[in-house]
Amino acid sequence: MTTNVKVDVHHLTRVEGHGNIVVNVVDGSLEQCELQIVETPRFFEAMVKDRPYHETSHITSRICGICAGGHATTSLRATENALGIEPTEQTVLLRKLNFFGEILDSHVLHVYMLVAPDYLGLGSVIPLASTNPEVVLRALRMKKLAGDVCEAICGRHTHPIGMTVGGFTHFPQRADLEALREQLIASRPDLEATVELYSTLSLPAFERETEYIALRKPDEYAFIDGMIASTDGGEWPLSAYQSVTNEYNVPHSSAKHTKNQRDSYMVGAQARFNVNYDLLHPKAKEAAEALNLRPKITNPYANAAAQVVEIVHSIEEAIVLTEELLERGVQWEEPVKPTRLTGEGVGACEVPRGILFHHYVYEEGFAVKANCVIPTGQNLANIEADMRELVPTILHEGEDAVTLKLEMLVRAYDPCISCSTHLLDVEFVE
């Protein structure tokens, strides 16, 4: 029986950004158990300061290359709330469609290229290209579809161009939407194969119930706007986000931690699934059934499986949405103008990794204050709580197994460490 275990994973791979896992067990007792965030902050607050309101979404999109569209959309919603802008129905539909592209892109990257190698005993997806080329080709095909959705709406997935405050500066043609619909429908066999692949992987057995937080809307599985909802009960308007996130500083992380009604909470696909299961597309519910997932999921390793369910949901809903857009037709619209240039507003979206908040104050159209609370930051305390509970139960498996299981745990959360320190508002306690 091992009584001394030291895990020190420096620069965890296959996650976005830089983080270290440090676990130190001395004489069988857990002395240290941390996910250290060592990324350099990028001072986004200073970057948006004094910039005109129509630039903030283009700048904050550069916080993260994976969630660029998510940051841009959240930023636009915050600016629109600050400046009294009500987007049109068409804008809402187009943004939603683009958002499905974003969720799809990020989830495919995570479930195929970042998580699957662990379960197949590989260091990366690259050897899979020769052993199981059909799996890699499928992943690339699905990523291409995601990119095509975003390209049709905004020009490109990473750093969208055609979205602006109050609407769009470019509109998809009828033929673009028709082609998208065909492609989306044609991807259904890939969806089935994805669900099948994940139904064969066996997740490490580990259950730890926690508080799950996600946006909620009465009539749809929320991705853009909504109320902040918790599985522990309670719903809050976006403007009250700081009373939900309660950010605090810890010395080993350049990203802040958060807590709501317990010591930690979880955000992301699994939290959305637990909060909004009733609103999933019927085909997504079927996928959940096939994957043996029912709310409330309490095994954090299942987050990637919940992402698979959301992949199905995104594609099915995107099909519905393209049909709706084709039916009503897309018109050229000028972006809605601000009704005021001085104001304060909060925006929130369920980006792939969970709930994201942007908060701005504008004076005469220029940003004077900005804050941004990122999903991974909100998950950090919960990841550490998982690690503390998991480690003592697997110590006897030896250092290598502990290391792998911890890496897999952190990866399951799909952490975007670069974002989590690209906070607009960084403060440290002594």
Partner: protein, 248 residues
């Protein structure tokens, strides 16, 4: 033996590395041509015997310099990947403020807590053999540059203004839509994608080597716009360059 290549990230959004992954959608064959020995974003293995290094991100602290020099020492060819590495890009926006102002603004009285200095392009620290410009990089250009490097040729990237590509697209000029656009002085190669989607070019690929400033001024004058407005546009990606110019 297949050439070994490695990817490194400094301060960035990692969007350029992701674009590399996306470039495989249409070029899976690339994986047969090279051996990737380091790509933290996508793989666990870490090899140190690479010949070609792709560097994403800006240098933003002193300790980055040592890492960059080590990469330069090992690699035969160093390629700057994207605007952060090539220009300083979006990270250098804050360079108009002194580093103390930024720290005070963001950290308050904990200003000294974090190691950071004015963000800069990597060629401010090490010699760079080739550049793949853009924020993010263009997939096809990435493949083209890699192919040229593998063939031992000097990669060529366009050195004419974005306006030329824009006119080929038959896009309505942004100036006619009431917007400022840096197309006349910015480096083409992106297919003038921003004007195509209704956003004035902000020069994320850097300026061409001989920007015709007079014709830029003419355009501005013709549409009743000011140099200040154009400068404001340039501050998104070209702050490092404009500040350098001001100093020299």
């Amino acid at each position: 033996m297949k050439p070994k290549i490695a990817f490194f990230d400094f301060t960035s959004c990692e969007g350029c590395q992701l674009t590399v992954v996306d470039s495989l959608q249409t070029n899976v064959g690339l994986l047969d041509m090279v051996e990737i020995v380091q790509f933290r974003e996508a793989m666990t293995e870490k090899g140190t015997d690479y010949q070609i290094a792709f560097v994403e991100g800006s240098c933003t602290r002193e300790s980055d310099e040592d890492r960059l020099r080590a990469i330069r020492e090992q690699a035969d060819v160093v390629v700057a990947l994207g605007a952060c590495a090539h220009l300083g890009g979006i990270n250098a926006i804050r360079n108009i403020y002194s580093i103390d102002e930024v720290r005070d603004e963001v950290y308050g009285d904990k200003g000294e807590w974090y190691e950071t200095y004015q963000p800069r392009p990597i060629d401010a620290v090490i010699a760079v053999d080739a550049v793949i410009p853009g924020c993010p990089i263009d997939r096809d250009e990435f493949i083209a540059v890699v192919t040229q490097v593998l063939q031992g040729r000097e990669p060529r990237i366009p050195d004419h203004p974005v306006c030329i590509e824009c006119k080929l697209n038959e896009t309505v000029c942004m100036y006619l839509r009431g917007e400022i656009c840096l197309g006349p002085i910015s480096r083409a190669g992106c297919g003038a994608i921003c004007p195509k989607y209704g956003f004035g070019c902000v020069g994320c690929r850097g300026m061409i080597s001989n920007p015709n400033l007079e014709s830029m001024e003419e355009v501005l004058e013709q549409y009743g716009r000011t140099l200040e407005e154009a400068r404001a546009k340039m501050s998104m990606f070209l702050t490092y360059q404009t500040l350098e110019e001001g100093e020299s």
